[in-house]
């Protein structure tokens, strides 16, 4: 993915410790993401175990998508601490990608989710400088200048600085671990 782009879309807001079982419930891990049709289906089950009161903050009880849709109307997830904790299942960033999520903005991530998001090239995991899940509301229209790490809330007019992507930027820019490894000579192309 190009890190020079601008991404615009609606925010879906979650709280702290959104674990991989909430992101993609274990019963759907029978789908094989290596098969394109099954990859697409992960979108339908994304965020399937988030407790209703925590789904779409601040009010909660906002469905991520309607039951029979594969893609959600949201492009951003804004969350609190330790996003993606729990299992190593790559199905978690895959489910968000399949549901149309381009960017997650959390205070910080569980390590394996972060690695999977970056190395698989599924979405951009940004870290916020403050606790944006308390200020951004589900449904707010956001615009992200990826290279500058600047997030504009078009609904409220507020602007936020995100933390630099740092050492993972070249991997994201390349499109994931494989293209990155080819670029730096770790893999013959």
């Amino acid at each position: 993915m190009s890190l020079q782009s601008t991404i615009t879309g609606k925010a879906y807001v979650l709280g702290d410790n959104v674990d991989t079982d909430q992101i993609i419930p274990a019963q759907y891990l029978t789908l094989n993401p290596a098969i394109p049709e099954e990859y697409r289906q992960f979108g339908k089950y994304a965020l399937g175990s988030v407790p209703p009161s925590q789904a779409g903050l601040p009010k909660g009880h906002v469905p991520f998508h309607t039951d029979d849709e594969f893609v959600s109307p949201y492009r951003f997830i804004v969350a609190g601490k330790n996003f993606g904790c729990g299992s190593s299942r790559e199905h978690a960033p895959i489910a968000l990608d399949a549901a149309g999520i381009k960017v997650v903005i959390a205070e910080f991530y569980a390590r394996i989710f972060y690695r999977n998001a970056v190395n698989g090239g599924y979405l951009i995991p940004f870290e916020s400088t403050g606790r944006l899940c308390d200020t951004i509301c589900t449904g707010d229209e956001l615009r992200l200048d990826v290279a500058a790490g600047k997030l504009h809330n078009l609904t409220t007019g507020e602007t936020y600085e995100l933390k630099p992507l740092g050492e993972v930027a070249p991997i994201l820019e390349a499109g994931g671990l494989f293209p990155y490894a080819r670029k730096v000579g770790m893999l013959r192309s």
């Binding site: 410790n17 079982d21 789908l31 094989n32 330790n82 904790c85 299942r89 199905h91 698989g120 893999l187």
Partner: protein, 438 residues
């Protein structure tokens, strides 16, 4: 030479073909992998990525270093789950992989993290990567072991390498004699309660002290198993004679290995010392492993179900402990017993307590015994043994209690030691194991 921790030393030795003299936390290094493990849930995706990037006819980097253990969704009528085992089977045949433990054969094992050491795939000083977050369990053997995703695993399958960031190490020292009513599960739940489920994010957790070295190897595995519940990258315990005796007895292929331990003066970013004699039985309340309470604080809480199993709480030591409570008693609530592996299932049929096999102890107490696998620890297909298909309250020896983890998203899961779970099964309410054990 700057002193290094055990984790730093292993990563330095594996950085590039010649290794490096020194690494420090924060360094990004390409490391050579000793063993890659995958299973039926993440194997098909990993194989897909391997074929996509290396070609349909590509060969794995080293067939002796790839271990494939179907364990998650095994005893189910779910067609997709069965299809995934077929994907593994086909790949193993194509690649002629020697270390495959197929369903429906004498080689079938069950839960990968227990099967790996039983089959001699865990050795001190090595790097073990697995497509499962509880791969950290193998740190009990003095190696660097951590969970990775499909993309990373697909890359390792083709190259035998992966980039990793060297983590800073936190040190947890346990002193004293563990009282008979406490188990390693209580110790790790206490640690997670203290530092929180993000307290070790991007960090290694090293366990030390006479309280750790008094534990048997299975209990040390329980300690390392749950470091991921604090966000830890890996958990590790330097080997002693107990470790080496276990490893040598299982290392039937005679793989060489090097024992590594932290240097004197190695830098730890955090250190906490526990006196185990002063600890109490610990429980993690719904819906997070760091939602800690003392069992005594919430005793009497009504339960619907008890579950004893998984990589965390389904080993012989766990069943031995549960049996000491359940012998001659009857459970008040539905109680599910799931041995982690076929070797442990066999142990339940052969090991005895008061003239009964452990299996007889559990069955005569009214518990149900399932086939060795991950079973309901992570929910799984709806016909999974012990799965919470209703919003029930369950006390469990497993590792996670996030919403939906064991099935129904409104189910309430309490995590505790096998002693606490067995005591609670007998009464039907959360019960302090000290009511039954010394």
């Amino acid at each position: 030479m700057t002193p290094m921790t055990l984790t730093e030393k292993i990563l330095a030795r594996h950085a590039g073909h010649a290794g490096r003299d020194h690494v420090q936390p924060g360094d990004n290094v390409w490391i050579d992998v000793d063993v890659l493990m995958t299973h039926d849930v993440c194997g098909p995706g990993t194989i897909g990525i391997f074929k996509q990037h290396f070609g349909k006819d590509a060969r794995v980097w080293d067939r002796d270093r790839v271990v494939i253990i179907p364990d998650h969704y095994i005893f189910t009528a779910d067609k997709m789950a069965n299809r995934n085992v077929d994907v593994l089977r086909q790949f193993v045949a194509e690649q002629n992989l020697p270390h495959y433990y197929d369903v429906g054969t004498d080689r079938y094992k069950g839960v990968c993290h227990i099967a790996l050491p039983e089959e001699g795939h865990t050795r001190p000083g090595e790097v073990l990567l697995g497509t499962d977050s509880h791969t950290c369990t193998a740190g009990a053997f003095g190696e660097f072991a951590t969970g990775i995703g499909n993309t990373d695993a697909g890359f390792v399958l083709g190259t035998g390498k992966l980039w990793v960031k060297v983590p800073p190490t936190m040190r947890f020292v346990f002193h004293g004699q563990l009282p008979p009513y406490l188990m390693a599960k209580d110790l790790i739940l206490a640690v997670i309660g203290d530092i929180g489920c993000d307290g070790a994010t991007y960090r290694a957790m090293e366990f030390d002290g006479d309280g750790v070295y008094a534990l048997n190897i299975e209990e040390r595995m329980t300690l390392c198993n749950m470091v991921i519940e604090a966000g830890g990258k890996n958990g590790v315990i330097a080997p002693d004679q107990v470790t080496l005796d276990y490893v040598n007895a299982r290392n039937v292929r005679g793989n060489p290995y090097t024992v590594v331990s932290s240097d004197a003066g190695a830098k730890f970013v955090f250190e906490k010392v526990y006196d185990v004699a002063k600890l109490q039985p610990v429980i993690a309340k719904p819906h997070s492993p760091d939602n800690r309470a003392f069992v005594s604080d919430i005793k009497g809480t009504k339960l619907d179900r008890a579950y004893i199993g998984s990589c965390t709480g389904g080993k012989m030591t766990d069943f031995r402990a549960a049996a000491t409570v359940l012998t001659g008693k009857t459970v008040r609530i539905d109680t599910f017993v799931v041995p982690a592996t076929s070797e442990i299932a066999h142990g339940l049929k052969t090991e005895t307590l008061n003239g009964q096999t452990l299996e007889e102890v559990f069955l005569s107490a009214g518990a149900k015994i399932g086939e060795p696998s991950c079973a309901a620890c992570l929910g799984g297909p709806s016909d999974t043994f012990g799965r919470l298909n209703e919003p029930l309250s369950c006390i469990s020896t497993t590792n996670r209690n996030f919403p939906g983890r064991m099935g129904h998203k409104e189910a309430r899961v309490y995590l505790a030691s096998p002693l606490t779970v067995a005591a609670s099964a007998v009464t039907g309410v959360i019960t302090d194991p000290r009511d039954y054990v010394g």
